[in-house]
């Protein structure tokens, strides 16, 4: 979508009533036939636009894609999401966002896609990303913190997403699986992948990648036991632009608090209340070893607190958690 088309869409979404063709001509310094071409372009992208002689144009149907014009009406936060770059298809929004961040894109910039051809989860695993149904987006952050603190962001984002999901679906019983997933009914609903570029003393940028299974109605056979969607859990369809905005609205104040507080202490009660692994026996697979124990909570630095069979407390800062006597 070119710049003027996007701006015309923004104006149409901002006004519930008809907008005269003349007003659009004046606003962009273009002819009536040029306005008409932009309207046709928007219709070809799925927007329903009424055109009535003497009154002008009125938006009567959105596409439900996570584009700036459809997300902005729902944004209440101040900095995040003011600039959303949307792709119908991209390899991975994290790859795109890392490139933009390296070029200097400001904090709060978002890359969103309708579909990813190479969506990824942690450790290079793939994240299935079909078009038209789910949310795949990446948020660029520039926190002035040493690099060792950045892994805490994964849990903080998970808390914000959990808050947003529960707000929009009151029946949903979703749990946060340390450190980066949200599950419902034991199946994956959402994943977070934070990537950063840093030196020890300072963080150049962080890219927070978020995938949420929103309206997907079925999963391939090999994922049916391990993945679910908001639609499958609640029977409702959700507005993707509204949900994206809601995640940003919930995350921005948590992020600001975290920058001030220097750790996760302020959000620990929430994280522990909704922790899938709390009091469970788990195995944590790390790059070179596995650690076993019973989960006793989360430290203010985001580490999982395990109690070993010998009663010792172990702090685990990274790894893949598996419930014992389960394949999850």
């Amino acid at each position: 979508m070119n710049d003027i088309t996007a701006q015309i869409l923004s104006r149409l979404t901002a006004v519930p009533d008809f907008l005269s063709g003349e007003a659009l001509c004046r606003a962009f310094g273009i002819t009536r036939s040029a306005v008409w071409k932009h309207i046709c372009l928007l219709r070809s992208e799925g927007y329903q636009i009424d055109a009535v002689t003497g009154r002008g144009y009125r938006l009567s149907g959105l596409t439900g894609r996570p584009v700036e014009a459809e997300v902005h009406p729902f944004l209440t936060c101040r900095r995040f999401g003011r600039n959303i770059l949307y792709h119908p298809l991209t390899t991975s929004t994290n790859i795109e966002a890392k490139a933009l961040a390296a070029e200097g894109a400001p904090e709060g910039s978002v890359v969103a896609a309708d579909c990813q051809s190479g969506g990824r989860g942690r450790m290079g695993r793939s994240w299935v990303s079909p078009p038209g149904v789910n949310l795949y987006f990446s948020l660029i952050l520039r926190p002035a913190v040493p690099s060792v603190r950045v892994p805490q962001l994964t849990l903080l984002v998970a808390a914000a997403i959990h808050q947003a999901l529960c707000r929009h679906s009151s029946d949903l019983v979703a749990m946060i699986k340390w450190p980066n997933d949200i599950l419902a009914d034991g199946k994956k609903l959402c994943g977070v992948l934070c990537e950063m570029q840093s030196e020890p003393d300072c963080t150049h940028f962080v890219v927070v990648g978020i995938g949420i299974n929103v309206n997907q109605s079925e999963f391939p056979p090999d994922l049916q036991q391990s993945a679910t969607s908001l639609f499958l859990e609640s029977g409702q369809l959700f507005s993707r632009p509204e949900l994206l905005a809601s995640v940003l609205n919930h995350f921005e104040p948590l992020y600001d608090a975290w920058l001030l507080e220097d750790d996760l202490g302020f959000i620990l009660p929430y994280l522990e209340e909704h922790a899938l692994l709390q009091s469970k026996e788990v195995t944590i697979d790390q790059l070179k070893r596995s650690v076993r124990g019973t989960v006793r909570g989360i430290s203010r630095f985001g580490e999982l607190k395990l109690e070993s069979a010998e009663g010792e407390t172990i702090l685990v800062s990274s790894g893949e958690a598996h419930l014992r006597s389960s394949i999850t």
Copy 2:
């Protein structure tokens, strides 16, 4: 320098005696006049090459630049430095190396420059990088460790450089200033800037940037109190290619040991023996606060151990150290 020119240079450096023009023709499938053109190119870059009818070509003088052909004869390590990309001038070898790493350059690849137009130290500060005298190079690593361990690499590299410098200049009294500088006579001789791209569980790549003031004979007035060079400290001139190779030769075994050991325990005695700050009263400036205390050592995770005025032990993982009652 094009590929064949570089390969002819490699052959000439490998053989102390004359190499016949015919042998070079055969080796590269080129004509005698083509060989002659490559020889002229090498001479134009500063190489002294004797040409004697009936005997061939003999290298009688190197340029002393950190190019692959001049570094390789001194390399004894197995993986580091086998692939050196040399630039007469670049913005910053770290910027160049990060771009190469993002494209998949293998571990051990090195970017070296004769001169940097935008050389940087920690926290975005500039690193003065005049041509012809010093070493500026960046090494690409791909350690299979969680991102929280990467800051330890800075101290490990500092130890390797310290070993290399002391090996080549037995009179030099150099000290390691936690976490990333080497000083002689209280002035900066060398700096290390590690940058990484990572997710919490795994490190995609680390770029270790190293600047060593080697043969620089004078510094601008504003740096004379804070910077020095190997030449100024020892009165000797040093071969830059040999010194670069020596740093890699010392670092590779330390790095391999670190990957196995999982922490810096094995090198702590060395780090503490040569620690500038040991037993000193210091202030550590961090992004948001300052910490004061007396240095009691280094932890196996690379943190500085401070004893506060109240006798409490404080572990500091990042920041800029200043000796109290000093401006350093």
